[in-house]
């Protein structure tokens, strides 16, 4: 029901009943179903340690998917997130030896900068966002390889960043709480603010938004900036967590995040979906991958499973959408 194309004012939210909510969120239903089935099949799945592990491993993809969801719902696409992750991770790690604050702020600035670049070219020159971000993907990942030559970069332990990452609340790591918080913020931004409604309207119908006097340029650029900033945050956290990274850490992140969005029910055509959908997609992907590991399925089958998942997700979405049209 949050999938409604454009929310029309305060009274427009439908009355929430649980059944109706679940019917509108098939993906959530599937997630719950899978968790129940896996818990019955493998006792190891439901253990506290395993569940926390799933959450830990989803850090980067959650942050990236939240940011990307905003861009996608606004009717664009950002393919440069993986390259940006590699870049900011490398820079955050190398700067952590000089000063932890540099390791925090320089990557964030880079994220904001790349987001501005992508967003400005896309909205100002009205170029397809795939081409623009393809260009910035090549630019950034070429730069990363140029600058680091495939070496492993080590970070410095014992900084304020690593101390933050090591904090736990009821044995849940602080960074998991952090990304959940960021997801809530993004969700509220999208569903409860004028900015969010403008963004969604642009995703549904850009011309109408223009005619309606919305500053399409600014709204679109901000979405790109948020997306890149979220990726930079993910890189800083990942750097502080693992204290090492290589130039290809981020390879394919854009496709993983897109997979999560598609599985969660965010349409690539723009306008449809929510941050909740994105997070459900991330969890669905993580739970399925985790179950494959518990089943001792060899590593190389993982991509087959992922590919089939994407195809099933987009096909059912298309079929259900067509049925609703009739």
């Amino acid at each position: 029901m949050r999938n409604d194309a454009v929310p029309t004012g305060k009274g427009a939210w439908p009355r929430v009943s649980l059944v109706r909510f679940l019917r509108g969120n098939t993906q959530l239903l599937i997630l719950i179903l899978l968790v129940v089935v896996f818990s019955i099949l493998f006792p190891a799945f439901i253990s506290r340690k395993n569940l926390i592990n799933i959450l830990k491993q989803s850090t980067v993809i959650s942050l990236a998917s939240c940011g990307l969801a905003l861009v996608v719902i606004g009717g664009n696409l950002d393919l440069s997130v993986g390259a940006l992750l590699s870049l900011t991770l490398g820079i955050s790690l190398s700067l952590s030896g000089i000063h932890p604050l540099l390791a925090l702020f320089v990557p964030l600035l880079l994220g904001v900068g790349l987001g501005m670049l992508n967003g400005t070219i896309v909205s100002r020159f009205e170029v397809n966002s795939i081409i623009v971000t393809l260009g910035s993907l090549s630019l950034v990942s070429g730069f990363v390889q140029f600058y680091r030559q495939g070496n492993i970069i080590m970070g410095l332990p014992g900084t304020i960043l690593t101390q933050f990452v090591d904090l736990t609340v009821f044995s849940i790591p602080s960074y998991v709480l952090f990304y959940v918080l960021m997801a809530v913020v993004c969700g509220l931004l999208l569903s409860r603010t004028t900015y969010g409604r403008k963004l969604r309207l642009i995703g549904v119908n850009r011309e109408a938004a223009l005619v309606g006097g919305i500053n399409v340029r600014r709204v679109t650029t901000i979405a790109f900036v948020i997306c890149s900033t979220m990726v930079a945050l993910a890189a800083i956290i990942q750097g502080a967590r693992l204290l090492q990274g290589s130039t290809n850490t981020g390879d394919g992140l854009e496709f993983d995040a897109l997979t999560a969005l598609l599985i969660g029910g965010v349409s690539l055509r723009g306008g449809k979906g929510s941050i909740l959908n994105a997070m459900i997609g991330v969890l669905l992907l993580a739970v399925i991958i985790n179950a494959l590991t518990l089943l001792n399925v060899p590593f190389e089958w993982r991509n087959i499973a992922k590919g089939i998942l994407i195809l099933i997700a987009v096909s059912t979405d298309a079929l259900v959408g067509r049925r609703n049209e009739k």
């Binding site: 020159f125 140029f146 496709f255 994407i310 079929l319």
Partner: protein, 321 residues
């Protein structure tokens, strides 16, 4: 006025001019750069991705996109390495048919289920990459990096032969370019592709069989990616799951540098080929200047962004003047 016309022509052909310019500067710096051998090696380097490039140009003019071409190429090279044990012909056929099948599946999913092509082919990209990994890992000798090689020396003759000093790879690419440029410009099928890419709904009302045009273009792209896989396994005698992961990005960049618009309905194959040529020239420059190969990626990205900005400013100016 005359000055303006010169500028307009220069703006129109800027990619070719840039390629020639780089070639001239490099030719002055390194006389060998414009030698026969180096030009041949530039062309050989772009020829395998060039075969895929033809298919993607068709698809992008049609307003669609295919991200799975790299995975299809890898899968087909694995198939032709497996098939060549039973003879050269079986190897070639195995590669081509696999590519054709993958293309048809892409087309059916996009057209019949009405899913965005970027979503379908993203799924196929990941899925086929997984299949290649499973196949090569199960066949590869233990302890290696999961790559397999063929044993049929006859198969390798496909690309190891030369005609008047020109390797067959280049001849194949030139032949395909000529045929498909002709088809695109001079046949009903080609015109239908432009029409469908320009306006799908209007084309449907004009009694063009839009669905079959789109499915054929996907099938064609799959078939060409299959051919690229066959050529790849013949030339380098290797199949691995790491092959082709960058191919869609490279090829799409080349097509876009060649002036084809992602919104469909515009562009021409021979003009787009200039984009591919530029990629090849930059590649060779990087090798000759002995700078890191990653610089190639950086330059292409920067070039794409600069081009877009220049085009964007120009279009804006035209619109508001």
């Amino acid at each position: 006025m005359r000055n303006n016309r010169v500028l307009a022509v220069a703006g129109d052909q800027k990619i070719l001019i840039l390629a020639v310019l780089i070639g001239a500067v490099m030719g002055v710096l390194y006389p060998r750069f414009l030698g026969f051998e180096n030009i041949i090696s530039i062309l050989v380097k772009i020829s395998i991705e060039g075969v895929i490039f033809i298919g993607l140009t068709y698809l992008i003019i049609l307003g669609e996109i295919d991200l799975s071409v790299g995975s299809v190429m890898a899968l087909c090279s694995a198939m032709s390495i497996i098939g060549q044990e039973h003879g050269v012909f079986v190897g070639v056929a195995a590669g081509l048919l696999t590519g054709l099948a993958a293309g048809i599946v892409n087309g059916l999913l996009v057209v019949k289920l009405r899913i965005a092509s970027i979503a379908v082919t993203l799924g196929m990209m990941v899925l086929l990459n997984g299949i290649v990994f499973v196949i090569t890992k199960s066949l590869a000798p233990a302890g290696g990096n999961y790559s397999i090689a063929g044993t049929n020396p006859g198969f390798r003759l496909i690309t190891d032969t030369t005609l008047f000093g020109v390797p067959t790879l280049i001849l194949i690419l030139a032949f395909l370019l000529a045929v498909f440029a002709f088809v695109l410009q001079r046949t009903v099928f080609g015109r239908n592709i432009y029409a469908t890419g320009g306006n799908l709904v209007a084309s449907r009302y004009a009694n063009i069989k839009v669905d079959s045009v789109r499915i054929s273009a996907f099938a064609l792209t799959g078939l060409l990616a299959g051919l690229a896989g066959v050529l790849l396994s013949a030339k380098y005698n290797i199949a691995s799951w790491q092959i082709g992961t960058n191919t869609p990005l490279f090829v799409i960049t080349a097509v876009l540098l060649g002036g084809v618009s992602l919104s469909g309905g515009e562009g021409s194959l021979l003009r787009a080929f200039q984009g591919l040529l530029l990629v090849g020239v930059i590649d060779s420059m990087v090798v000759n200047l002995k700078i890191y190969s990653s610089a190639r990626l950086m330059m292409l990205g920067a070039l794409l962004i600069i081009m877009l900005s220049v085009d964007g400013i120009r279009i804006k100016k035209e619109r508001y003047s």
